[in-house]
């Protein structure tokens, strides 16, 4: 077993606390890397700076500022935890000779699970039900009536690895599956989940009872769902977002929810994260918001971390990086 001193150095934010790595994640990393926390690094940048070869980015921390990179001349790789890398300037880092990797595929099941969880919780008013059950002041246990999921139409915008899994889950509820994607999927993929392609996103918006967003954030998908799209949706429809907050025009969404242009929304992602405490979206009755927990299971988290480690070891050993993100 390599001595701690022989292990390559990796920069992390911190362990535990508000946005840090869970202990099991840090323990996995320590098997192969000597971890330097951002705070330790800042106390004496020249001590470790020249030896740090890898930066493990978790929940956008440590912040990837240019000033950081000037102090990390030996950096080979920014290994991101998660599949979305919209917060990383890949061309800029590449110009410094630093590669970028992400963790595709391993995040898909847990994210698809959360998408269905949000859909069901919203449709069947589970959160409200729990609040009523628990509230010491509740006197009237009046009926909360929700909307039927079985047999309803599920419209998936973004039918990648995650979208396909959402479709599979929806099918288990005998839902009718529509999807819109940059490219049509193969007939086998469509048949496997009983999905019908909507070349025109507007058609999907008009027909769906539940619209689920599972796209990458890009210039093309920023503000993809705005006033026009929301007004095309049924007044009984629900919007679910497990992509990125910026895919939705939040002001338009606020108005749509207030005016009941759509029935409800359930978001695991917002912009910013978190929303400021006085943001009007937080105070609507017909919205569910969870704090970006799409991949927050121990099992999935550790799969992500293992992938980060594999990418980092490849970088340190000069091998091809399995999940390198190349610029478009």
């Amino acid at each position: 077993m390599t001595m701690a001193q022989d292990k390559p150095l990796a920069l992390i934010s911190y362990v535990g606390g508000m946005h840090g790595l869970i202990q099991e994640a840090a323990d996995l990393m320590k098997q192969h890397f000597k971890l330097i926390t951002h705070q330790e690094f800042l106390q004496n940048p020249s001590l470790h700076g020249t030896k740090i070869q890898v930066l493990f980015s978790w929940v956008n921390k440590p912040e990837l500022l240019p000033s950081l990179f000037t102090s990390l001349p030996a950096l080979k790789l920014v290994a991101n935890g998660g599949v979305g890398i919209d917060h990383i300037d890949v061309p800029y880092l590449n110009s410094l000779g630093v590669k970028v990797s992400n963790t595709p595929l391993v995040v898909s099941d847990a994210t698809a699970d959360i998408a269905m969880g949000l859909l069901l919780a919203s449709a069947r008013r589970i959160i409200e039900g729990h609040q009523i059950s628990m509230d010491p002041k509740t006197v009237d246990f009046q009926s909360l009536i929700g909307t039927e999921v079985t047999g309803a139409t599920l419209g998936i915008i973004g039918m990648g690895h995650i979208g396909l899994r959402i479709a599979q889950r929806g099918r288990g509820f005998d839902m009718k599956i529509l999807y819109h994607n940059r490219n049509r999927r193969s007939p086998e993929d469509e048949q496997a989940v009983g999905a019908t392609y909507c070349k025109n996103m507007e058609d999907l918006l008009r027909e769906a009872d539940f619209v689920v967003l599972a796209v990458n954030l890009s210039p093309q998908t920023t503000g993809l769902i705005g006033h026009k799209e929301l007004s095309l949706m049924k007044p009984t429809a629900t919007l679910v977002n497990v992509s990125r907050g910026l895919v939705v025009d939040q002001d338009a969404l606020l108005e749509a929810l207030q005016k009941r242009t759509i029935r409800a929304a359930a978001l695991d992602v917002t912009y910013p994260e978190p929303l400021p405490r006085d943001h009007p979206l937080l105070h609507l009755p017909n919205i569910i918001i969870t704090p970006h927990i799409g991949t927050d299971t121990t099992a999935t988290t550790l799969k992500m971390v293992q992938m980060m480690i594999d990418n980092a070891l490849a970088a340190v050993e000069g091998r091809q990086i399995p999940n390198e993100v190349k610029p478009k």
Partner: protein, 326 residues
């Protein structure tokens, strides 16, 4: 003519009873009398009533009420459960009983999966943090349990249990089930379910234990101290059947001491739980007020079925969903 339509006794139209669309379905075939009106003059109104519609257990078919309904032909109860009805007593009065099987199954199965996911992924805590006055996250407290690929143990593989299995399969869950009798090979294959003759085996192996069986009094306390201690400490119990299936004191102890991870209950005993009940203050108990069938679509299906049964009873025809004595 409205005046020719037979009379039905109901709880009430409104928030605590039938919403307007449901009342309209009844009015197609019946004149409806809310209980409050009836009680103002039972002697006057009683003889008119041929049908008693029971929705969410109201009005309660107590002997004192039934005694005031000399023309009553049928008691039509919403939902599949009949444990709230004294079937022999009601039959002995010469009355028929009907419930509404089948139409509740999809909505109940959907709700069961919704509870499972909400509990597993700590969505209630997540929402509180996302919308609370202080945005503080401690990663470990929001770490959930993986649903995809986990083991779902279904106790009670009737129509509802089978539909839950189908939904679980969509999440690539491994399905185990325990039932009074084994289901056919086709039924098992359709949802990839494995029979556990021994309930203990299911309890030991499952990540999620789902109670979806029909309640009989001999199933009271089916899940008690012993059963809970057989379960994995990471396991979650979901109950959409009847509160009495679970020994609630044993459950409280199990949740407090980490014997199981969490519980999600649409049903308790009593309903609702009295304010201050220990279950209500446990962070790992997700409780909803018996809303498993609460969708507009399903409520209307139930209502149509109840009316159908009632119309048959009034005409002296065979009742489609008659509940026969055991």
């Amino acid at each position: 003519m409205a005046a020719d339509k037979p009379w039905a006794l109901i709880s009430e139209v409104g928030e605590n009873g039938y919403f307007e669309e449901l009342a309209d379905i009844m009015r197609e075939h019946f004149q409806i009398m809310p209980l409050s009106d009836f009680l103002q003059s039972p002697a006057l109104h009683g003889p008119k009533i041929q049908v008693l519609f029971i929705w969410k257990f109201y009005p309660e078919p107590k002997p004192s009420l039934l005694a005031e309904l000399p023309s009553l032909k049928v008691v039509c109860s919403a939902g599949t459960g009949t444990d709230h009805l004294d079937i022999p007593y009601i039959n002995n009065l010469g009355l028929k009983i009907a419930n509404t099987p089948h139409v509740v199954s999809d909505a109940t199965a959907d709700f069961a999966m919704g509870l499972l996911l909400a509990s597993a992924r700590k969505m209630f805590e997540g929402q509180q943090i996302a919308r609370g006055p202080e945005m503080v996250i401690i990663p470990q407290s929001l770490m959930g349990v993986e649903v995809s690929g986990s083991t779902l143990g279904i106790i009670g593989m009737g129509e509802i249990g089978h539909k839950i299995a189908q939904r679980g399969k969509g999440f690539d869950m491994k399905i185990l089930y325990h039932n009074r009798s084994r289901r056919s090979a086709e039924d098992e294959a359709a949802v990839g379910a494995t029979y556990c003759e021994n309930l203990d085996d299911l309890l030991k192996l499952s990540d999620f234990v789902m109670l979806s069986l029909r309640f009989h009094t001999d199933c009271t306390g089916l899940i008690g101290h012993r059963e809970l201690s057989l379960m994995k400490p990471t396991a979650i119990l979901v109950n959409i059947s009847r509160g009495l299936l679970v020994d609630q004191d044993a459950l409280i102890h199990a949740l407090q001491s980490g014997i199981i991870q969490a519980a999600a209950l649409d049903v308790t005993h009593p309903e609702p739980l009295p304010r201050g009940h220990p279950l209500l203050s446990l962070p790992n108990a997700l409780i909803t007020p018996h809303m498993g069938i609460n969708t507009t679509t399903t409520a209307k299906k139930i209502m149509h079925r109840m009316v159908n049964n009632a119309v048959a009873a009034v005409k002296g025809l065979p009742i489609p969903d008659e509940v026969k004595p055991q």
